[in-house]
Amino acid sequence: MFDRRLLKNFDFLLLLITLAICCYGLIVLSSATQGLSSADPLLHVRKQLTWIGVGLAMLLVVISVDYINFYRWSWYFYMINLVLLGLVLYIGKDVDGTSRWIELRFFDFQPSELAKLIVIITLARLLVDCKERMTGLFSAWPFYLHILPPIGLIFMQPDLGTALVFIVIFFGMLYMAGVPLRNLAIYAAAGIALLPILWSRLMDYQKMRLLVFLNPEMDPLGYGYQLMQSMIAIGSGGIMGKGLYEGTQARLQFLPEQHTDFIFSVLGEELGFFGGAFLLALYFLLIYRILKIGSYSKDSFGALLCTGVATMFSFQILVNIGMTISVMPVTGLPLPFMSYGGSSMLLNMLSIGVVLNVGMRRHKIQF
């Protein structure tokens, strides 16, 4: 039976914010996908709705298992993660020279999405287990060793954007676990110093990809063009926006990935500054709630889980929105709960589930 006391600590507000963002996303999606499928104009909205539904169901499953079990199963998760990431390199569907998806019957599964949550869980356990290694500069090596294989495999896909998310999650969790700031700065500096070696090992096309990633101007007919169109869309939205379904940029399909990576551009054009600021406010509340749950958790494992999820969301929001307004490079990272896509929606829901789980079990059960 479900414990009543668990329900008492269930953070309805977090779930509510999540659902609010999802609904907001569906509305913008319905505009962004106008005319994308002539047979069924609501095809993408319907599919996205299905993912939200499936995601909620999975969220329920996740919260019914005490999160302390995630700690126990951590190493299984880690192995499964490596197998999936390895598998995608071999049987992955090839799209524009990258293999990121495993084709399943119902949808294209993207193992690197699931990998984010798994790394958060397994790294949290490692940080709890090796607390004493935290403060030394060199004793922290197991943390690096832990994170290297999954990042390496994702780098090989190659999916540079997602690999970067892992690095940021890693540093975020190390910081919250109590690693001295001075050490973090040294690690980061060492990492940057190693970049030239890594660079020399890359294939030409990978180098090109990286260069374009850092400087979209190099690809004026591709990313550079998208970026300019995105800025025109958002800028022309003004304070109030042109109104839902009224965006001329969006209607002309100027933004090639407007229902996935560039959905914020559609929002900016049609709902204006208020619409964009409202979304940012929702996101801020979401992350604030997650961190708050983390800070009240009964153990440091729970706290670290929440930190990891919060870092992941924060970084993706920053990079995605930053990309559409030209303050961040074009990476192809989805906007949480807004971008169209099954794998990321499921992963985001699961992550919220993990956080809710930590919140529900914040008091030690008393007999």
Binding site: I232, L252, G276, T307
Partner: protein, 607 residues
Amino acid sequence: MLKRTRFFITMLLLVFVLLCARLAYLQVIQYDTYWNRAEKNRLRILSITAPRGEIYGRNNEQIVTNRPGFTVSLVDLGDGYSDDTIARLANLLDMEREEIRNKIRSQFYRRYLPIRLKTDVSMQTVAEIAERRTELPGVLIEVQPIRNYVYADFAAHIIGYLGEGTVPAWLEDYWEGHDDYKYRIGDLVGQAGIEMAWEPFLKGVDGGIQVEVNSTGQAIAEFERVEPRPGHDLYLTIDVPLQFSVEQALTEAVERLILEENLYAGEAAAVVLEPHSGRILALASVPSYDLNTFHQDFTDLQGDRRLRPLVNKVIEEAYPVGSVFKMVTALAALEEGVVSPNERVNCAGSITRYNATKSCFRGTVHGPLNIVQAITRSCNVFFYEMGLRVGIDNLAHYTRRFGFGSPVGLQDIFGEKRGVVASREYKQEIYNEPWYPAETMDAAIGQSFQSMTTLQLANYVSMIANGGIHYRPYLIEKIVDSEGEVIKIGEPEILYQLEAQPVTWERIRQGMIQASLPGGTAARLADFPVSIAGKTGTAQAAGSGSKIPSHSLFVAYAPVENPEIALAVFVKHGGTGGTTAVPVARQILEQYFNIEPEEVEEEDVTA
């Protein structure tokens, strides 16, 4: 709350405030600028098509080049396309309205790119459009490189044509396995021949320009430009003068047959190889087609169900080959030791075994013959006997070792057929019947189920010339990029070697040498100044006694002492090998060895 958590939240708030500030900057302060740009958002991307790689002959003769052509495109100016414009365009371009609408629909997800409606339109159409510019908003005229075939219908089956149709998945995978090639729907791509197999090398990488267009769709300002990277040039192994004479000889032979009121004639094929490398010097299939007018002629070409001009008959069709096959049986018999090199077998004009009586061509009685004489005079009875002595299983084994029954390995043109090797397994599989010994006799003279492509025959005669080495036939001498740098060099590749005793090769070659001397079946070549080893074939196209003319075949290599070329000629329903295929081969050899043509004299020669 932990100190670090508070710090995290503070940082987050700061980042979000900065994002908001940037949004405010774009949407409030810069609003007018962006609103104006969106209002007349006429930034479009015009693609610059990369010139396709050119194709040259072995002595650097231009075969395929590019010339500038006009393409009419339609660009969305922000409010879709009016029915009026579409109707006017359909009229001007002689297209159906629905066709134009389909093209528009196929690009709905990339509306900022112009839609190409028609390539290579005439100057007159361009002038008509230019006059009515104001009535045709969004209509663009771009200059694009168009294929120019220097000799029109020359080597059409080697070069192949371009088209826009759908590309099967295996081909897309094959292409994308090369270089950094990317296929996009709507691209003009190779659909046959070298243009198809070497598409990733020929295509190059398209460039583009970011332009601002005015209210009628004319580009008024250019922002960014990416130059195209031209495709790589291909240098073929094809000997252009030789290819010309092969095509001419085949065409003339076929025309002569038609004049003689042969209702079945019309198709022919020939290929010339270097026996010591596998280089293809000439490859021709008749009837051919004119590449310059291909798209206008396409419906007719495809509709010709009888002669099927689009089919490359050198590789895509396999036929019974008759007596040219006899060297296989000879090799099998000598190698299996069922006949000695000088043993004589008596030909009484016919032979009766297993209740079947089979006779020599036109009932000729050859008397006692050894294996050399049997090849020279193409005695069926001798080879019926040899077939029975080696048995169908051994015969099938040696047939396969000569490269029959599987593709020869040409990779520069797709579509090579396997043909059929008459065997117990084949009959069981197709007819679900056991093999009858009497059928072995037919198989031994290249009839029964035996069927071979002309390319397989050329490879076979090459193997006889070079002592059993199966080279992969190839057409690409080298590939050169637009900078002039050589990217790839075609090199001979040995696939395997058929080992046989020296005496076996000697006997077989001797038979072929004498066949081209007085008294042989190819006696028309007797006065040829260069020594030739050859073998004729007259393959029954229908059941015996039928009125349908036989296929005429000839395989040869020359000079005998140091073979430079090997050739196979196939004339469908051309009658006996000696009457049709041998004169074609003579014309080819005359061109290759620079010899004055023989006096045209009509004489009856039996095969």
